[in-house]
């Protein structure tokens, strides 16, 4: 035994149990309330799209990594989460191959071609979603939906279109319905409560902090009020809550320092209000967060935290 060799490494020699994969798995768990609500309202439509997203993501990631000579990385759960995200960002009425195209763009282009998880500049799922928005306007992709039975409420528009139409009274859904469940628009928009449940889990697990979501939601609320619009409606409707808690907080594409995160959140909040009110409500949150992503490297450089002892020093008391 005396001459046997033991493991060598730099310290520390003990580590926390958490791995990238287990944290990503927690994100998938945090999506369960949103998924449950979607399945309750949209049945097979939701299930087919969610499965299509996840399957496309797993296959696409495996193929891309094989082609690029990288080890498979299904264990990090990142592909699964991206697939779920793309399906959730879209309305359940879109054909499943829409979801697959968006997922392939997300995984192949935005993630793997950029160097893999950790080196991507843009949030893959959001980029995939926005690409679909643009592609569907450029090309007639057709409407080859599967007949999966009647689809309740899906035909109703996203509540945000009511803002644009200037019809905020009467026909728009009430606050409580927006908060609990309103089957219109994307899966992500259906229930604010479901989004907040998942967000609470992520905050409890320590994967997300309050800084980015609070900055985004606070900015949207205050700016909307200043501009004379309805701040409560603006924060509850559309994909704002989902975007603030699940998309803008993406580890890889958000700034690292807390101060930079708050500036990033404010920037995204301002963009959301401007785009929603003066351009198009559809995709406003997604466009804003992607622009925020592009600013992340700069924000990281501009806002470096003050080091220990550089903040304040108490003078020596001499007696």
């Amino acid at each position: 035994m005396a001459n046997s060799e033991y493991l060598l490494s730099s310290p520390p020699h003990v580590k926390s149990k958490e791995l990238t994969g287990s944290a990503m798995r927690d994100v998938a768990i945090a999506l369960l309330p949103v998924i449950a609500v979607a399945i309750y309202f949209f049945r097979l439509y939701a299930i087919v799209n969610l499965v299509a997203g996840v399957a496309a993501a797993i296959v696409c990631e495996w193929v891309m990594r094989k082609v690029m000579g990288r080890e498979p990385s299904i264990g990090d759960f990142s592909a699964i989460v991206t697939g779920l995200f793309v399906a959730i960002l879209l309305p359940p009425s879109v054909p499943f191959w829409y979801v697959m195209i968006g997922t392939v763009i997300a995984v192949a282009l935005v993630k793997e071609l950029m160097g893999g998880l950790g080196t991507n500049v843009f949030n893959p799922a959001l980029f995939g979603f926005v690409s679909l928005l643009i592609i569907s306007q450029l090309f007639a992709l057709g409407n080859m939906t599967l007949n999966l039975g009647s689809l309740n409420g899906v035909t109703s528009a996203t509540p945000l279109t009511f803002i644009k139409a200037g019809a905020l009274n009467g026909i728009r859904p009430g606050y409580w319905w927006l908060f609990l469940a309103h089957a219109g628009g994307a899966i992500a928009e259906v229930s604010v409560l479901a989004v907040l449940l998942g967000a609470a889990y992520l905050i409890y697990k320590g994967h997300v902090t309050w800084h980015i979501p609070a900055a985004i939601i606070g900015t949207v609320f205050i700016l909307t009020a200043i501009l004379g619009e309805n701040p409560l409606y603006m924060t509850l409707a559309g994909g704002l809550m989902f975007g603030a808690f699940f998309m803008a907080t993406d580890w890889v594409t958000s700034p690292d320092n807390r101060m930079a995160q708050i500036i990033y959140g404010v920037l995204i909040g301002v963009l959301i209000v401007v785009i929603r009110l003066y351009a198009a409500p559809t995709g406003a949150v997604a466009y804003s967060i992607l622009i925020g992503n592009a600013c992340t490297p700069l924000l990281n450089r501009l806002f470096v935290r003050k080091r220990f002892g550089a903040v304040k020093t108490v003078p020596v008391e001499t007696d």
Binding site: L7, P11, P12, N257, V304, F308, T313, D319
Partner: protein
């Protein structure tokens, strides 16, 4: 009640139960001791003995002219067998005096004399002559810390009794077994630097020791026991000063900058011992533990004892040992084999099993920011690593590489298993080299 603490840090499993309640035992002497000439921060010593010389326990065998240095003494009576390079616990080759141990060891330092009338000057001399260094692991020469610059008066002496590293309990045991010596040592330190106040900073997982010291201090207004939150690295000098006094040592400065002197429990006990009996640093208490150690305990060992002997005399290791650490699990040194010797700064020997040692491979950083929240120095560890990987040392410096004291919190929390400390060490060396040019 909210306990005092610092910002950042981590809560690893502490695993101190195996040894915390067992009395310290003295182990038998080895056949030979290997005493490195450098056991301290600062200059190495030059041997003052020759091969074949007869040496007595406590005899000085190495000294240096440099200011930041500490002499070394023979820990046993015996004969100098060799003076040669041996591998120390860090893996570096250092000059060592190898001494064959005499079977008959005369009893020494049994009489205690009163230390009450020693002058500050005398206390400093005693610390220097005894070869006293920070016994918590840092091994910075104590007399240097006891000689603060005249323009930086010290008003508080803090005894670091946190022992925030998991597994280790040697300071805890020492407080329980030698509380009076600890308090006497603290008084000597306060006198040496002219501080009116003494504080013993202790984590809340050692309440038995805290209560005992408090009861001994009843009626003494100069010394206070402050119970701190159990958090790593509560015992890091700058964190401890912040937690107790609210003073923050500026980047690149020493604690004297804010009027504080910090010394470890074992250092204070050893200072008192040296003052009262004349005994230099020739032995210390170390924690021999870990899931692969058969009979975990604290042992009193002579400096220079090969760790193989310490492990054997402590009951040996189980077959499933995969990693052996000298020091604590957060900052200690992994050992290739058991050949290194105990030095003044050795606080523990840990034998770890596969279950405790993490085998996950390093992955790409995903920007989770957990290292940033954990860093007690408010640095940006993931950015230091990013720029160190690219060889951009100026940027690694910008994000704080030189302020890092390598506590390992960032690597502990990292889900991508990035070995930040290794990158920081490289960055520090490169930044220092660039400045020399």
């Amino acid at each position: 009640m909210e306990l005092k603490t610092f910002r950042g840090g981590i809560h690893p499993p502490y695993r101190k139960e195996a040894t915390a309640k067992k009395a310290t035992v003295e182990i038998s002497l080895p056949a030979e001791v290997v005493i490195p000439m450098q056991q301290n921060v600062g200059a190495p010593n030059t041997p003052t003995v020759n091969v074949g010389d007869r040496v007595e326990a406590g005899q000085q065998i190495g000294s240096s002219e440099a200011f930041i240095s500490a002499p070394v003494h023979s820990s046993v009576s015996g004969t100098v067998k060799a003076i040669e390079e041996r591998r120390n616990f860090t893996g570096a080759m250092v000059q060592c005096v190898v001494i064959t141990v005499d079977p008959n060891q005369p009893a020494k330092w049994t009489e205690k004399k009163d230390v009450g009338d020693l002058s500050p000057e005398q206390i400093r001399d005693i610390a220097k002559e005894a070869g006293l260094v920070g016994l918590g692991g840092a091994a910075f020469p104590t007399f240097v810390k006891l000689s603060p610059p005249k323009d930086k008066p010290i008003d508080i002496v803090v005894i670091n009794a946190c022992e925030c590293e998991p597994f280790l309990t040697c300071d805890h045991r020492l407080m329980l077994e030698r509380a009076d010596d600890l308090l006497a040592g603290l008084k000597l330190m306060m006198k040496a630097v002219g501080a009116g106040k003494g504080v013993i900073g202790i984590e809340a997982n050692k309440m038995d020791a805290a209560d005992m010291l408090s009861s001994k201090l009843a009626g003494d207004s100069a010394v206070e026991v402050v119970v701190l939150e159990v958090k790593y690295p509560e015992g890091a000098e700058k964190m401890l000063i912040d937690a107790i006094t609210g003073r923050r040592v500026p980047p690149g400065k020493l604690p004297s900058e804010v009027g504080v002197l910090v010394q470890n429990v074992q250092t204070a006990v050893a200072l008192y011992e040296a003052a009262a009996t004349g005994k230099p640093v020739i032995e210390r208490v170390i924690t021999v533990t870990g899931p692969a150690m058969k009979d975990p305990k604290n042992v009193l060992v002579r400096i220079g004892t090969p760790i193989e002997h310490v492990v054997e005399q402590s009951g040996g290791m189980t077959g499933d040992v995969v990693k052996v650490i000298i020091g604590g699990p957060m900052t200690g040194w992994a050992q290739k084999d058991l050949s290194a010797a105990v030095v003044k700064g050795t606080s523990g020997i840990l034998a770890l099993t596969k279950e405790v040692v993490d085998a996950n491979a390093e992955q790409q950083c995903v920007g989770c920011d957990k290292c940033i929240d954990a860093c007690p120095m408010f640095l940006v560890p993931n950015f230091i690593v990013r720029y160190a990987r690219r060889g951009q040392w100026d940027l690694a410096d910008k994000y704080g590489a030189r302020d890092c004291f390598e506590c390992g919190c960032c690597s502990y929390v990292c889900p991508a298993r990035i070995p930040h400390v290794g990158y920081v060490r490289k960055a520090k060396a490169e930044i220092a080299a660039a400045q020399k040019k």
